[in-house]
Amino acid sequence: MEQQKTFVEDIERTLYDIRNEDHSVYKTERGLTEEIIRDISRQKKDPAWMLDFRLQSLEKYYRIPLPVWGPDISELNMDDIVTYVRPGGKMAGNWQEVPEEIKATFDRLGIPEAERTSLSGVGAQYDSEVVYHRVQKELSDQGVIYTDFETAVHEYEDIVKEYFMKLVPPKDHKFAALHGAVWSGGSFVYVPEGMHVDIPLQSYFRLNAAGAGQFEHTLIICEKNSSLHFIEGCSAPRYNVTNLHAGCVELYVKEGARLRYSTIENWSRNMMNLNTKRALVEKDGLIEWVSGSFGSHVSCLYPSSILHGENARCEFTGVTFASRGQDLDTGATVVMLAPNTSANINTRTISKSGGAATYRSAVKVTPGAKGAKCLVNCESLLLDEKSRSDTLPVMDIETDDVEIGHEAKIGRISDEAIFYLTSRGIAEEEAQAMIVRGFVEPVAKALPLEYAVEMNNLINMELVGSMG
């Protein structure tokens, strides 16, 4: 029997492809030199130690070679990337002060609405500088600090100095070194001992200028027995020049604390998303990652969890959707260092229209991690014959007292399922979208409602060619 193919329209991106005129007041020279780093540091009024840190990172950046594995990033020419772009506006204390043009873009992406409804704080990053930032008063009264990273460097210098790039040291890889040299913007969150932030904090990152890189730094510290849900969303308008995103996220989950870190990334299709995310989890702590990767041209994203204390846990839920022109290499790493640590990794990947999706992971159990448990489940769906899907997990176990399980499946939507749904009067496109939504349901249900809706809309846009 000749199998029926569903024609799948490519994503409708108009909402995300609004491009504003470039009104930036300051841009560095192209390429990366010591002078540029000093320039950035001067502009930011860095303390001396930060300038030293940047320069040392630059040295490492020159020395470390590009990775030999993963997607092809040869079209990335660092000399073409303007590393720092400062938008034409000062830090704004409230929404009304944000420049009209920038505000309009954020309005279209629905940021203030999100805040008005349920989110307790919004830090929106426009290019490299945070232009709008607010935390509900009661939170700051309780000692929760939520601020942009530049402010944190000055106002909470001791904390930043203690934690900044200790978890992701610049020597880790070339793009971590680059980040250490040129980082700009980002969020700083400090949750004091025993404090439960019961409404999610949200930050929205966005790139505007063509050929600009974005290197925001996120540092979250959850003290003993505290809890937090942090949401990071990413979107950018499309340009012809390659854009680079090499952000860095460092999460410290102290004894008994819980942190959920959710991301829906929908970068434009010319973005190189080479982001590094890492969490250090102490005794009885829990890190929950929820990760949706929809956009970008190339992504390398593997949030890693270092389970450092006894009974520390990691839950990872991820979905990756690769379409035409996309090579999305995503996954997770877990390092188990203490007894009775556990990890649960659950991912779904979808490839269509010539897109390539790779699930890559590493689970390392060190000799001291007696009683460690890790379960990995990844499923991949291929929607047509032009696309690719690869699964590359590694398990490295150095003690006997473990339970390690890994399962992966790869395949297509069954004709029977489509036939069943169409025989019930559902159009074929919609039937396919329904099945894909069911496939990613484990991720959707881990997200707050409005993000689950956004993710479903992204899937509908991919599959049906409209907002459905």
């Binding site: 000799p367 991949s380 690869d390 997990p393 490295d396 176990i397 006997d400 390690i404 399980g405 992966a408």
Partner: protein, 282 residues
Amino acid sequence: MEKELFSTLPVPTWRWLGVNEVYLPEELQTLPTPVRKIQIDVPAGQHVTQVIANRTEQRTEITAHVAEGGTLQMVQLQLLPPDKAGTCNVEVTAEKDAQVYYTTAEIGASRVLAQVKIDLAGDGSKADMAALYFGDGTRSIDLNYVITQTGKKTEANMQVRGALQDSAAKIFRGTLDFKAGSKDSTGREKEEVVLLNEGIRNRSVPLMLSAEEDVNGQHAVSAGRLDNSRLFYLMSRGLDEKEARKLVVGALFATVLERVPDAELREKISREVEERIEHGQR
């Protein structure tokens, strides 16, 4: 002297895991070691059985071609002395409707490198692979198995069973590679490894690569120590712990060993594994 590459992971990953490639053991490189070459041709429609119990050859290369509708049943048992390193490289091509039954056991040698590549080139071809390894003492085992599915309606099955004790170290790389055009193909891969004490190192790398939508692929790995409740049950029936371990490992290996056509060889391997669980490495 430049190190000689023996095998590589079909798609590389992070270097810190040390699984991307393996080089020839030094002792085989410094002392020129003769390579025993075996060529097997299975004519169309014929059935060939080949059993190799290797006790002496440190380097073996086997190439096999299975013509249309042919069947190759190959058993490759590595029983080298415990102070010798060994390598074995096997490449099999299966034409239309050909079947390959490949069984292997890695029992001996101080350090062993084994690579098996089966190309299901023809439509309707099939590979059924079963492997076992037993690592103890300071033994090091490095395996790289790749089944490539090029033809339509191909079928791959890779079952690997292993046990590690003392300070043995093992890397298993198992790849199912669905090439574009391998429509209506299926692939299954499973590794089960029992870890008998602390101090071992087990690395498992199951890869599944697909450039074809119309396939059904699955892989799984499970690693852990002997189930305490099962051990307790056996011991409550009067077995001591070592006896119980022997029984559990024996059961794990049974499905692979029963594919060895020679009863004497089967018995020899079972006995050796039992003795090494009982007394440690000879």
